[in-house]
Symmetry: C2
Subunit: 242 residues, 2 copies
DNA sequence: CAGGAGGAATAGATTTATCTAAAATAAAAT
DNA sequence: ATTTTATTTTAGATAAATCTATTCCTCCTG
């Protein structure tokens, strides 16, 4: 009985899975998550390439059985394609957390570095990072880190811009791709896990006046819209989270 | 007065310096270190490619002014080429040490991982590693880690196979590329820094009987030849090294 | 239901790094 | 000095990922 030595991304990399292919899979996954169709044009825009480039990559990924193509609806990940996408995302988010924890990177710097390295680290590197970090569930921006099996805890969050005043909120997540935004947020002390209350909400998409931890700040609607929050649970017991 | 924002490897990478180019530069550097000419054939063998591949890369590197080409003598690194080679080597060796210190890799596993990552880490990553490790001077195999400026301490070592009995030796260095050899050496407790004495030396390239630390082992001549050692200095003071 | 707008695919070119097969050239040897 | 040997280079192909320009085709609209 021959033992299956390689599977998932490792196997496919041995068969010639390339960094660009991995990047396209991530982009397709991201579009699907947003409920959009991964059409040629949408994918080309996401990847910042020309439509013909996207077309040919879609065809290639279809040959590899990583996506299925429907005319004018674009491409959808197969289970295998989704598995690979999630493995790359796991690499990315583990790297982000690792860089910030172990090498003192700030949260606005980690995305760029992780974006390159995610394609070149081994599965061994991945699991060593995960172990060193205590099998973490969230990256520095609050995004979930899929497990090895491709599962994660879904936390139903909503936009800070849509929050109603008086509720006590916990910041949950923000996108990792805009370093300027992240630097701005860290000036305000706005990190995942921080307590927020909306004190005033100005009309016509006006600014919000917030309590952030123990200080108070105004925040524009556009920024608030990019921040995901959850309601603070009524505590049943004083649970300390580190 | 415009500030020079990029230099060395960073500048060249922005201009399109590729991972294969970096690998060739390392190979040329390595051949030069061994006192060999980096001819087409030698380089092709070192890089495990066909001679025409080596030719075309030599031409390309010459276009980039990273090497100078002399007919039938092969190629020599220019100062710029050497600078790049040393930066890549610095990346490699820092990565090796970092992986073994911070992620618990054993010394036979680090080379492979570093070989890929060396081309993709940023200068920031490099300096953070160096700082986290206390600006180390040697990698896990005892090879010198060049400084940012491309200098390092030259330690005149010699082969264990050529050592005369009775002297007390310190293991200095071993190549990093053969995992099997490294695993064998670690079974014997043979690491850089470990004390060795040659107790018996059998003729005709026969085995050596060694004291390694506090235990005794036989070691074949071929293996001994790959191990670099230095004479243990007469201690002036009891200095503890960690 | 017949065009036209716009999205999608094709055609052909470019760049990088590799290959094999063949030709050219330098060094060595008789 | 001529031949042989060995190294080096050229020529032509391939594969990946991209591009521009062009053509094709689907869907919607009038």
């Amino acid at each position: 009985m021959a033992k299956q030595k390689y599977s998932g991304i490792l196997l496919l990399r041995r068969k010639g899975l390339t960094a660009p292919m991995e990047d396209y899979l991530k982009a397709i996954y991201s579009l699907q998550q947003k409920g959009m169709n991964a059409t040629t044009l949408a994918l080309a825009k996401e990847m910042k390439v020309s439509p013909p480039s996207a077309t040919s990559m879609m065809k290639k990924l279809a040959d590899w059985k990583l996506v299925r193509h429907t005319l004018y609806l674009g491409v959808r990940l197969t289970p295998l394609g989704e598995k690979i996408a999630l493995e790359v995302i796991r690499h990315h988010r583990l790297l982000e957390l690792y860089l910030s924890h172990s090498l003192g990177y700030s949260w606005d710097e980690v995305h760029q570095e992780a974006e390159k390295l995610e394609h070149f680290i081994s599965e061994d590197f991945e699991s060593r990072m995960s172990q060193a970090l205590g099998n973490p569930k969230r990256d520095p921006h609050g995004a979930p880190i899929p497990t090895k099996k491709g599962t994660w805890e879904e936390i139903p969050s909503f936009s800070l811009a849509s929050a109603s005043p008086k509720n006590c909120l916990i910041m949950q997540e923000v996108e990792d791709e805009d370093p300027e935004l992240l630097r701005y947020l860290s000036q305000l002390g706005l990190y995942p896990g921080v307590e927020i209350s909306v004190l005033e909400k100005h009309p016509f998409e006006g600014p919000l006046y917030l309590r952030i931890g123990k200080s108070h700040h105004y925040l524009g609607h556009k920024v608030a819209d990019r921040i995901r929050v959850i309601l603070k649970k009524k505590r049943r017991k004083e649970v300390k989270e580190k």
